[in-house]
Amino acid sequence: MQLLSKITRTVKFRRLKEKVIESFFFINGSFAVIVLVGIFSLLLIEGFPALQEIGFKEFFLSSNWNPTSPVREAYGILAMVVSTLMVTLGALIIAVPLGIACAAYLADVAGPRTREIVKPVIEILAGIPSVVVGFIGIIVVGPLLSRLFGTSHGLNALNGSLLLAVMALPTIVSISEDAIISVPREFKNASLALGATRWQTLIRVTLPSASSGIIASVMLGMGRAIGETMTVLMATGNAPALPSSFLESVRTMTATIAIELGETVQGGIHYRSLFVIGFVLFIMTFFVNLISDVILEKYQKVNR
């Protein structure tokens, strides 16, 4: 009788212990959500007072950013939003065709030995720190562009786009390749059996079937390009004005935060307005990633 009660007690204790352990892991599991919500709310709390003071209209629609002016401080982020979008667009124009072509080559054309060489190359490229890419931008790409276009220096939007293309390429290649590889074998076989060449099959059957995965990869690459800081900070020349061509110096949202946060007074409008820029960046990348997420999820369901 005594033994039985002892056993029941042990079992009860064990169950309790298991419950405690499970809740410990659950608390850890929810940490990611807490961090995401934390980032969102902290940016909002720190930034909102500035937005109230400056006013939505001026903040988002004015391109005059001059927070240290002795006469009248101006906080309009339009110029840097345009700069960010412009540099990103340029990067995508370069990286998307190159990345998709490379992915198609790896997935459909290359032999196993070539793949074994090229895949690690992509991985190493993904691992190169952005500050090193920026360094190359200053030392190699800049002088090259200035000679090519006859400008006084080569630190401009085009330079930034080229570097961002390098940063976005690994993402685009690896995710597009996954998408192309997972196109069902039967699709290709059917096309080949009808007499199409491998090239025709690739262009008319395989790539269209993988299109949602490819689009998702482009969105992810775009997210990376929008949020990239060091390369654009180092290579685009940092002129805070509305750009009119790719050969002009520009200053992106990320670069503005990097340059100016150190000089601001904590709690001041300038300081807070940088948090608003951070918030806008957060929202932009959030939606870009969300879209790619939705596409990928849908497409995984279709393929299953």
């Binding site: 298991e18 499970e22 659950f26 599991g29 929810s30 990611a32 959500v33 961090v35 995401l36 980032i39 902290l42 940016l43 065709p97 190159l98 072509a101 490379c102 198609a104 080559y105 790896l106 054309v109 290359a110 070539t114 090229v118 190359v121 991985e123 490229l125 691992g127 190169i128 720190p129 952005s130 500050v131 090193v132 360094f135 190359i136 200053i138 030392i139 390098v166 390429l169 060449t197 090239w199 690739l202 997210g223 990376r224 949020g227 800081t229 060091m230 180092m234 990320t254 935060i257 990097a258 946060l261 150190g262 960046l281 957060f282 990348t285 959030f286 870009v288 990633n289 969300l290 997420d293």
Partner: protein
Amino acid sequence: MKIRKRNVQQWAGFFILRLAALVIVFILVFILYDIISKGHRVISWEFLLEKPRRGMTEGGIWPAIVGTFWVSLVTIVFSVPIGMFTAIYLNEYARQGRIVRLIRLAIRNLSGVPSIVYGLFGFALFTLYLNLGLSIISTGMTLGLLTLPWTITASEEALKTVPMSYREGALALGATKWQTIRSNVLPYAVPGMLTGTILGLARAAGETAPILFTGVAFFWPILPKFPVNLTQQFMALPYHLFIMSTQHHEIVKVRPLAYGTALVLIVLIIFMNTVAVWIRYRFRKKYKRA
């Protein structure tokens, strides 16, 4: 005739694809070649093990190496346990449902948050609100948050490779869930988790934007000594490269030093990647035998 035209078309098409792959390989080879060929000249024991001298126009990068090391250590200590436990929850305990989907959504979105935004967040939270100041610990924790999504994903991948039968065997013998995880799942998943951790760390070690505001210093020759003072400022390799290539007053004169720093940084990161891949390779081989 038509067949020949199609063959030419295919040949040209494949040629373009091959060219695209070649361009990408060329980009990497060019970056590595440029940095190795110009950086190796300044590499010496003096460069690696001494402090910068004369307004950083001479001397070495030892404080930056040490700083990067300590920050990375804090990053691991902060991010690995949370990442591992989250992965254990998601893969072993959680039932599919709304909460798990929410957590996964959060993880995926965290990995897309720009690094400079982590910098803002870390600055506001750790440096100001938690009053940790400009310090190694603020920076390590900021980078810990940044690497968290990668640590979680890698740990989960590692847990997924452990066959279901290992768990079923233990459960059938009457082990509790936690006993099963501890004795039959974790030992087999740890090498995989280690790989993911090192890969995440390699990326964190090269990050510059998130550490700009949390304590990295232009010049800070005081090295942390045992017992470590984690509340002081520090130098870091990527930031050192940044100032040597953009902020220094004698930018052309210190260019060789900048190349040397870039080389050390790249070698460090490629070395960490290689170690990670090697662990994964060993682990796979061992696993096949088991």
